[in-house]
């Protein structure tokens, strides 16, 4: 029984075959996945190269898309504050594998929860 319906995984490319991007705010892509249908949607992060404030901007994008849980490697302080205030759960993945691998580990309850 999976806790979350809509999850987001930070990625280096626009598909679940892409490698997971460890950084949240500057991730090139956000892969949104539905845990029941396993369908995915890729969002390009247009704030990735911004000078600053990328954490809150990225968090805002997730909120706007109804994301309930995030899987990433590192989440900065400001982003963490926004995600926590919005009630989005945070899970850590640093194994260096693909988005699909992170997804399977999440629904298999193998990831550590960080917030």
């Amino acid at each position: 029984m999976v806790e979350w319906m809509k999850v987001c995984i930070t990625a280096q490319g626009p598909t679940p075959a892409a490698r997971v991007e460890e950084r949240f705010g500057r991730a090139p892509y956000f892969i949104l996945m539905d845990t029941s249908t396993r369908s995915f949607e890729a969002l390009e992060n247009r704030y990735a190269e911004a000078y600053g404030g990328v954490g809150p901007k990225a968090a805002q994008l997730l909120i706007a898309h109804g994301v309930e849980a995030l899987v990433s490697g590192q989440v900065g302080g400001n982003a963490r504050d926004v995600l926590a205030a919005a009630g989005i759960a945070m899970y850590v993945y640093r194994a260096g594998g693909t988005v699909m691998d992170a997804f399977e580990k999440l629904i298999g309850n193998q990831l550590e929860r960080a917030g």
């Binding site: 404030g53 205030a85 919005a86």
Partner: protein
């Protein structure tokens, strides 16, 4: 006449040059010295005196949660990620705010008012009969130096002459200090790092259109490469200060070269005349 003392590389001797120049000028006329290195001002070490102080504040948004309908327009308009609109409230990150006022304009419900956030202070002192020292001090933890530099400069707006001691480097604080200056003294040392960063500083003054000259500090006599760069860039070498133990000792004691060795006053007077010359005349 407003003269900004700038360097590419840090530690070349900006404060030493600014302090001695202002001291020398103040012997014969009312002079204002502005410490624009607001993250670590140090002119007060050479000119200790009692100070009066004024707060520097910047405008920040205050969201009236009773009027706000969470439309999200303010968050969208913020280029810096300082405002995030959640379902139940608006989150504000003051350290990301650049006080542009865009959010206040974007809100069409009148839910955003302007409040004030303190970011630093400007102190004024009179260490010598004809010398006014204005020091900008950025509060610890505050990320933006430019509003404090602007406030310090404003205190000297009608003064003449004004010597501005800049922060090292070529980033925003230096640009802010240079903006509106009539002339710029680039202080350098004849080392590879000094040369590299002098090039960057020369790019900046050229781009801003501020007439500039170079002071070579801690010279060991082998300044060929530096002088060649200056010639190529059309930068006159206004003064050369030798690498001498005694000068370093005077500096380290927090004393002024021109006070301990009055013969140097002639050189710093000439430095000022040279600055007047490169701006095309006395102002």
């Amino acid at each position: 006449m407003k003269i900004a003392v700038v360097s590419g590389k840090g530690g070349t001797g900006k404060t030493m040059v600014a302090a001695n120049l202002a001291f020398t000028l103040s012997l014969t006329r009312d002079t204002t010295l502005v410490d624009c290195d607001v993250e670590e001002p140090d002119l007060h070490l050479f000119f200790p005196a009692s100070e009066t102080s004024l707060d520097v504040t910047v405008p920040v948004p205050i969201v009236d949660e009773k009027i706000c309908d969470r439309c999200g327009k303010c968050g969208e308009s913020c280029q810096y990620g300082a405002l995030t609109v959640l379902k139940d409230r608006v989150l504000f990150f003051p350290e990301l705010c650049h006080s542009c006022g865009g959010c206040t304009l974007a809100c069409d419900k009148g839910a955003i008012k302007e409040g004030k956030m303190r970011v630093g202070q400007v102190t004024t002192s009179h260490p010598l009969p004809r010398l006014t020292l204005i020091t900008g001090i950025l509060d610890e933890g505050k990320p933006l130096a430019t509003p404090v530099i602007r406030a310090a400069k404003e205190r000297a707006a009608w003064a003449d002459p004004v010597i501005l001691d800049s922060a090292p480097g070529t980033a925003c604080p230096v640009m802010e200090t240079l903006d509106g200056s009539d002339a710029c003294i680039l202080v350098t040392e004849s080392t590879p790092f000094g040369l590299h960063d002098l090039r960057l500083a020369a790019d900046v003054v050229e781009m801003l259109g501020v007439p500039a000259g170079v002071v070579i500090n801690r010279s060991d006599g082998n300044d060929g490469t530096t002088r060649e760069l200056c010639e190529n860039r059309g930068l006159p070498v206004l003064m050369t200060i030798p690498f001498e133990r005694e000068i370093a000792q005077i500096q380290n004691q927090g004393r002024l070269l021109c006070a301990v060795r009055p013969s140097w006053q002639k050189d710093f007077s000439s430095l000022f005349s040279e600055c007047e010359r490169i701006t095309g005349g006395v102002r």
